[in-house]
């Protein structure tokens, strides 16, 4: 018997959606037959605004591309600009950048813990992990001066050096988080119900994953070990010792496992950075920002964020102090539209938000 398909609007005002977007679902009973992602609720025209602002002013917009994890965008932009200009970055700045990126990754994963668990109705994990994320944000506050909008990694290096006693604070926080992660595991990953809900749901085709533009934990969840940190090592990742974990089945469970291990690797990287960081300059000063022009050309730099490859394309006309074009490649850009639409077909309504969170969709990044 074929039921009549009803249309279900998933968002924009919906507690189960990540951020402010909409998925229009055609459902038969509890099963989805067609999903259409509709975005644009957060379109602020960043890239147009960057053309109206000079190279440094543009930098302040970057952290707003994807608010849960702003630093990879800053990093990509900074490196694209450095590539275009040929500006060297001091060694210490590279280490600091790596640390900031990894702290951001930890923050993003803690956020993901909360979101993924809450999408399944287990609010306790979210209450813990998002609460504990505050300790990471405290680190950011001490280092950069802001909780969310760090505006810290900029072309030429980083904005400020470590404040006094920062290393100890980082180590203390990492110790605490490592202890707490076990609590999350007991509650989330050991839970029989979570396993039932996560295994075999939202499977990404392993053969097609790369062609579909899947990146980050969803790709590694398929068992494909690709990570820009090892594929195209930037900053000092080639000097650090860490493992890129992979999953097996490409389902929500595998992606969750990848993230579960990756957060521990990030903690390991942060510890190594604290050990290895050299003394010295942290910033190779740019010229007066009002008159700073870049040579003609374009550059694209990519960074591995918690949600996948985040890239930034900049083009300069060589004369103006403003970018001719600035364009972000968000991991979520692919995940949240074509991939999500594909994965949702045949899924249960109950799994929609679970799948979305497992892909790390980030609507502000899609829409910019």
């Amino acid at each position: 018997m074929r039921e009549k398909a009803t249309t279900l609007y998933f968002g924009p005002q919906h507690p189960g959606i990540t951020g402010n977007m909409m998925v229009r679902l055609k459902v038969e009973g509890d099963t989805i037959v067609k999903a259409t992602a509709e975005v644009g609720y957060l379109h602020r025209a960043f890239e147009k605004l960057m053309e109206e602002r000079n190279w440094l002013q543009s930098f302040t917009l970057l952290c707003r591309f994807c608010v849960p994890e702003p630093d990879p965008v800053e990093e990509s932009y900074a490196r694209a600009v450095e590539m275009l200009e040929g500006r060297e970055v001091p060694e210490r700045a590279k280490y600091i950048r790596v640390m900031v990126l990894e702290l951001a990754r930890i923050g993003a994963f803690l956020f993901w813990y909360g979101a993924q668990a809450s999408s399944l109705g287990l609010h306790t994990v979210g209450q813990w992990s998002i609460g504990d994320r505050n300790y990471v944000l405290d680190l950011f506050e001490a280092l950069t001066g802001a909780r969310i909008y760090h505006m810290y990694i900029w072309p030429g290096g980083v904005r400020r050096d470590f404040p006094e006693g920062f290393e100890e604070q980082v180590i203390k926080t990492m110790d605490y988080l490592e202890k707490r992660l076990n609590d999350y595991d007991d509650l989330l990953f050991e839970s029989a119900i979570f396993q039932k809900r996560a295994k075999g749901i939202g499977i990404i085709n392993k053969e097609k994953a790369i062609e579909w533009g899947v990146v980050g934990p969803p790709l590694r969840g398929c068992g494909i070990r690709h990570d820009m940190r090892i594929d195209d090592p930037y900053e000092v990742y080639d000097k650090l010792d860490f493992i890129v974990p992979t999953g097996e089945n490409g389902d929500i469970w595998s992606r969750a496992q990848v993230r579960r291990q990756e957060i521990r690797q990030s903690i390991r990287i942060v510890r190594q950075v604290i050990d290895k960081i050299p003394k010295g300059e942290y910033y190779n000063k740019i010229p007066n920002p009002q008159k700073w022009t870049l040579p003609k050309g374009d550059a694209y730099a990519h960074t591995e964020a918690a949600r996948g490859e985040v890239g930034f394309f900049v083009a300069s006309d060589g004369v103006s102090t403003h970018p001719r074009r600035a364009h972000e490649r968000g991991a979520a850009y692919v995940h949240a539209i074509t991939l999500l639409e594909d994965l949702l077909v045949g899924a249960n309504i109950a799994d929609v938000s679970e799948i979305m969170f497992s892909l790390g969709t980030c609507p502000p990044e899609v829409e910019r």
Partner: protein
């Protein structure tokens, strides 16, 4: 998965142990404001005393959140626009770029972050005025290290100290294009410098033009109100750099060198005319006579010529330029560049009668009668005498005269031990020229080195070239040999006594500290004065002269409405750019007087 997952059911229950733990919640929030991190980017604070109102914060703000507004109790002055930033918290994103670009470091962010209101119009915020207590709460500030301003000047390529003394070749080599662009891009274009410049040149605009690689436009902008920019680019006293916003924490923008760079890109008078492409008005029939082809006279002549006046300059010497020609040594200001500029000025229709000394070759009366207006820019040709014993000995020369001779291409024999007395630019010039003639040079100066009125670059340059400076030394007597030639200078050391009235400290001779120094020549350079003997009696009576200077009003008009005066003879600052400024004012005055009178007659 097994049929019944006991572990998976029970393991999560361990979470319940958290029940007895202490909650992580911060109980006091929101009733007690929680302290932010030490580097938190909260509300702005502005140190109103330190702030110079340059508006760089307003420019960098991508949100246009910062307005520059006048504040009660703060008056604008040179180097301070009198405006202060006001932040619209309905725009601000607390990125702190404004802090990082603040040249003085007065703007900072504080730890305060809490403001809640039902009135959307209450989010305008005057940092420093609205939160005077913010000073103790500063958290995010810029140091010289973190500031985005470029505090280090691009070093000017120069000849090596010992290399220079071998010839009269120009010491300063000038920026090349890359250096000039880099230096120009340090400028934050606030324009505070224009107020300090007596001539109010359009400094930020031409620097911007250089930074944007448009040198021709820079030249046009420069020629808009300065007909002798190359001279200024080389020897200007650059008051502009003293008030440069960047100078508060770093080295000022090399405004002078940038002007020099721009003008040097144009290497002949025809090209200047082509680039500047001035609009020369139809002759209006008025005739203006100008006494003296110094900077002020040339300025008057150039701009009046552009405005359609018939200008004639009467110059006593064989070349135009006045002190810039005869007073400034050629290693600072080569003759060719001056010639180029004079040639250009002549090209726009200025007539210069050389070797025509007013009062001798032509009477002032005649000029006065045959012209609709007269501009007097005669400068200070007569040096002050020291007034010490033995001053009239042979070998005791006035530095001005010495420089005149040298610049005129004559050779002056000074011997190998030259003493220069004075601390001004003329003294340093004389000393350095003497070095180039092969002498050992010692400068005696009454006060300390830091009190010297000469440019610090000149003093440094002199020291690099091996000039000895003896500060706090007051010459008391010149000793001469039997032939009446000076052989030594006796001087007394002085100590600096603070002035009770708050002026600069005075040198007071120390009894019995007399010293004698050997000399083959002594160059006195303690200043010049005017020589108004060319004026006929009736004019001398009519024109008011005080302390050796013409008394002029704001349009450089003397007490005879037809006579205008400018340059050293009419201002107290006695430098080229002030002379140009006087000239430019006189141009407007003369134009206003004549053209307005003319129009008045028509009506």
């Amino acid at each position: 998965m097994s049929f019944f997952d006991l572990k998976g059911t029970l393991k999560p229950l361990t979470a319940l142990k958290q029940f007895g733990r202490k909650p992580h919640t911060l109980k006091d929030v929101p009733y007690v404001t929680r302290e932010a991190a030490d580097r938190y980017r909260g509300f702005h604070y502005n140190d109103l005393e330190q702030c110079i109102g340059c508006g760089n914060c307003a420019t960098i703000c991508q949100n246009q959140a910062i307005d520059m507004v006048p504040v009660e109790g703060i008056e604008g002055k040179k180097g301070d626009s009198g405006l202060r930033p006001r932040v619209d918290n309905g725009r601000c994103c607390w990125c702190g770029l404004c802090v990082d670009v603040c040249p003085t470091g007065s703007l900072s962010l504080t730890k305060d972050y809490l403001y809640v209101s039902e009135d959307p119009n209450s989010f305008l915020w005057m940092p420093g005025v609205d939160n005077p207590q913010g000073k103790e709460r500063i958290s995010f500030f810029s140091t010289e290290e973190t500031s985005l301003n470029d505090f280090a000047r691009i070093p000017m390529p120069e000849l090596e100290g010992m290399e220079r003394v071998k010839s009269f070749a120009e010491v300063v080599l000038g920026y090349n294009e890359e250096q000039a662009r880099a230096e120009a891009s340090r400028c934050i274009s606030c324009g505070l410098c224009t107020e300090a410049c007596p001539e109010h040149m359009h400094i930020p605009e031409y620097i911007n033009a250089i930074a944007r690689a448009n040198d021709a436009d820079a030249v046009r902008i420069i020629y808009d109100n300065n007909p002798l920019p190359e001279m200024c680019g080389k020897v200007c006293t650059r008051r502009c750099e003293d008030v440069c916003a960047i100078a508060h924490r770093g080295e000022p923008i090399a405004i002078r060198w940038l002007k020099r760079y721009a003008t040097e890109t144009v290497d002949n008078a025809d090209l200047i005319k082509e680039i500047v492409n001035p609009e020369i008005k139809e002759p209006n029939g008025f005739k203006v006579g100008i006494v003296g082809a110094g900077p002020s006279g040339l300025t008057v002549a150039y701009y009046l010529a552009l405005r359609g006046f018939d200008c004639t300059i009467y110059e006593a010497h064989a070349k135009a330029g006045g002190m810039t020609m005869y007073g400034i040594p050629k290693y600072r200001f080569p003759e060719e560049s001056l010639d180029k500029q004079i040639e250009y000025i002549e090209k726009v229709g200025v007539k210069i009668n050389f070797n025509t000394k007013v009062g001798k070759d032509i009477s002032f009366r005649e000029i006065y009668d045959t012209h609709d207006a007269v501009f007097v820019g005669v400068g200070f040709p007569k040096p002050w005498t020291l007034g010490v014993e033995g001053e009239n000995l042979k070998g005791s020369i006035q530095a001005v005269n010495f420089l005149y001779e040298i610049n005129n291409g004559k050779r002056v024999d000074l011997g190998d031990k030259v003493i220069v007395i004075g601390g001004g630019n003329v003294a340093i010039d004389a000393a350095r020229v003497s070095r180039r003639l092969g002498a050992d040079v010692t400068i005696l100066y009454r006060r300390r080195v830091q009190d010297m009125p000469a440019d610090w670059e000149e003093i440094e340059g002199a020291e690099e070239e091996g000039v000895h400076i003896v500060p706090q030394a007051i010459p008391v007597k010149f000793h001469g040999d039997e032939k009446g030639h000076v052989i030594s200078v006796e001087y007394v050391m002085a100590e600096m006594v603070p002035d009770e009235r708050g002026g600069r400290p005075k040198p007071v001779p120390i009894e019995g500290s007399n010293k004698t120094i050997e000399a083959t020549a002594v160059l006195g350079a303690i200043g010049q004065q005017g020589d108004y003997s060319f004026l006929e009696e009736e004019f001398a009576e009519k024109i008011k002269i005080e302390r050796g200077r013409f008394v002029v009003n704001e349009i450089q008009q003397t007490s005879d409405p037809k006579i205008f005066a400018g340059g050293d003879a009419a201002n107290r600052t006695a430098d080229a750019i002030s002379a140009i400024a006087d000239g430019y004012r006189a141009v407007k005055g003369i134009e206003a007087m004549l053209v307005k009178k003319d129009e008045g007659n028509v009506d």
